[in-house]
């Protein structure tokens, strides 16, 4: 009896499954394609994600698989539908992705960024907030802010983000239709005049790293006014957003004082951006357990991760859960792995892996590795 059931199950799994779709534009993705993989072409990949945006383990996979393929999943489709039916005259809607570790929040975000790119949005994407607040390499550049009393600047991180912003929005910035509406005086000799293109502001931040944080602050204000005036539509994506609300960062000032996240200028800037006091935009955030230390990862729900302060800051928002693989998604993923030679062996392997990984995408990928 047992062996028969086993055989039937194996036969079910060994059937050829379609796991790929040729539709490479996220605008055209619909419910029919759930669970299928679509391939990003190399150029978009380079322009969108060359400075971060994919998790490290996924980057490794893209190298081994010699292609970048993302699965079309329900949360992303829901988001696309929501965005398509949004009234852009109303204040921006904030979406919060949440889910277990390794369930694909960052990749859903990457899918959405591709969508926004195709749809002509101006993208402000923070690949991983903890990179600023929690990762402290040996030489972390830090200085006291000159414009904001008692605040801390992270000039190198800010400049790196500006480069990321520039590469993601090359086309829009090159068109030069986005103009600065205020005059910014950086020092005696340096200033950005009214009507200068936005790219000049960005360029200034990159070349004069000292002012990078202030440039980002100015940039965010400019983008808000530009979106309000309907000159561009804006897509904000911040991965690991809950890191902004954890009581302490791992940064130390030269006087060995612990820095709180609200004392970092970048935090204030991005909290300013995620308020819903502007229109003609979309804000996509993610609450991730990995963005906070191990001892505060008890639950993956936004109320716990964002804490009271963050929850009140974002309220009202649309929570979107990124869950484990469904039956169909798991099958298509397994056959994709088989196609990419990542998984081999008898068909019973899938049944076992499904059981041991609990259909968690990351765990599944990890457990396939030594097989």
């Amino acid at each position: 009896m047992l062996t028969r059931n086993w055989r039937i199950l194996s036969r079910q799994y060994s059937q050829a499954v379609t796991f790929r779709t040729n539709e490479s534009s996220p605008q055209q993705h619909n419910e029919k394609q759930t669970g299928l993989f679509y391939t990003l072409n190399q150029d978009t990949c380079k322009s969108l994600f060359s400075n971060g945006g994919f998790p490290k383990s996924f980057l490794k996979q893209t190298k081994t698989f010699t292609e970048t393929a993302i699965m079309i999943r329900q949360p992303a489709l829901d988001l696309i539908n929501c965005i398509k039916s949004t009234n852009f005259d109303a204040p921006v809607i904030r979406y919060v992705l949440y889910g277990e570790k390794g369930s694909g929040k960052s990749l859903t975000m990457a899918h959405m960024i591709h969508y926004a790119h195709e749809d002509g949005y101006l993208i402000l994407h923070v690949p991983w907030v903890s990179e600023w607040l929690r990762r402290v390499p040996r030489h972390k550049e830090m200085s006291n802010s000159q414009t904001h009393e008692g605040f801390v600047d992270l000039p190198l991180d800010a400049a790196a983000w500006l480069i990321h912003f520039k590469t993601q929005n090359q086309a829009l910035l090159k068109a030069g239709e986005l103009k600065v509406s205020e005059e910014y005086v950086w020092s005696k000799r340096e200033k950005t005049e009214v009507g200068a293109p936005l790219s000049e502001l960005v360029e200034h931040g990159i070349t004069r790293v000292k002012y990078a944080c202030d440039v980002i602050y100015a940039l965010v204000r400019e983008i808000k006014t530009l979106s309000n005036k309907k000159q561009c539509k804006t897509f904000v994506a911040v991965d690991g957003f809950n890191s902004f609300f954890y009581p302490l960062t791992r940064l130390n000032t030269p006087t060995k004082r612990k820095v709180k996240p609200e004392e970092v200028t970048l935090t204030t800037t991005f909290l300013e951006l995620t308020k819903n006091d502007w229109t003609n935009g979309v804000i996509l955030l993610s609450a991730d357990q990995l963005a906070v230390p191990d001892d505060h990862q008890e639950s993956y729900f936004p109320r716990y991760l964002l804490r009271k302060k963050g929850f009140e800051h974002l309220d009202p928002f649309v929570p979107i859960e990124v869950g484990r693989y469904t039956e169909k998604e798991f099958l298509s993923c397994a056959s994709y792995y088989r196609d990419r030679l990542w998984l081999r062996g008898p068909p019973e392997t899938e049944i076992e892996l499904k059981f041991t990984s609990a259909s968690n995408p990351y765990k599944f990928m990890e457990q396939c590795a030594p097989l």
Partner: protein, 236 residues
């Protein structure tokens, strides 16, 4: 005999010793420390295929009334269970940290797989692609098979002089030496290189019949060949 039969050999030995019990010869323990199970407990048969064989041959009814030890955590009916891999993990293990040892070996399998898949994609023709072995476990089996020595040198003292005398080697010892040499070669690495990477390289080399370990085996064989004049000391 290949290494896959290891468990079979173990159980066979077990049975033969059991038969000795009638003649009041104290049975030899096959495990280092005392266990909570008396000697008449049978080793568990945990593989589906072996169970199937037992059912077919009708030996199951004989075993039904015999007390059996519970299987250990590593003795699973999982599809990707491999006795040799278990053996290697146990050799890698230090201070009983099995989880770490297992993760290290699995990591090196992953590294093997990545390099092989990369080679596979780089290969220009389908024939060359077919030649590339992608399964890390098969690579491990090949590597161990290639590293097993066929002879050994044992020191024997004759007339105040210790001679290195060549002689045959048991299957078990040659397996032990193969794994030991592979790990010796791996641990002889730069501080900055991690174990999984180095182990992956060593395995790939050995599976290819090249590298440090295969050379070591050949050196031993050469030494045995050179010392063949002493062979008679084994029995004189």
């Amino acid at each position: 005999m290949n290494s896959g039969n290891w468990f079979l050999i173990k159980s066979l030995c077990d049975l033969s010793f059991r038969q000795c019990r009638g003649w009041r010869i104290p049975p030899r323990r096959l495990y280092a420390n005392a266990t909570s199970f008396p000697d008449y407990f049978k080793n568990p048969i945990f593989r589906k295929e072996q169970q199937g064989k037992l059912i077919e041959s009708g030996e199951l009814s004989k075993l039904a009334a015999v007390p059996v030890k519970p299987p250990a955590t590593y003795e699973t009916c999982s599809v990707y269970h491999d006795p040799l891999v278990n053996k290697v993990i146990n050799h890698v293990m230090e201070m009983g940290k099995k989880q770490l040892a297992r993760s290290l070996v699995e990591k090196s399998f992953e590294n093997i797989k990545r390099t092989q898949i990369e080679r596979y994609h780089l290969a220009p023709t389908p024939e060359e692609k077919n030649k590339i072995e992608l399964n890390p476990k098969i690579i491990l089996h090949k590597a161990v098979e290639n590293c097993k020595p066929l002879l050994q040198l044992s020191p024997i003292k004759r007339g105040g002089i210790t001679y290195q005398v060549p002689g045959p080697i048991t299957e078990k010892r040659s397996l032990f030496l193969a794994i030991k040499w592979l790990l010796d070669a791996t641990n002889d690495k730069d501080r900055t290189v991690h174990f999984p990477e180095q182990f992956a390289w060593e395995l790939l080399d050995a599976a290819n019949n090249t590298g440090k370990v295969v050379k070591r085996k050949q050196d031993l064989h050469r030494q045995c060949e050179a010392n063949r004049a002493y062979a008679h000391y084994r029995w004189q």
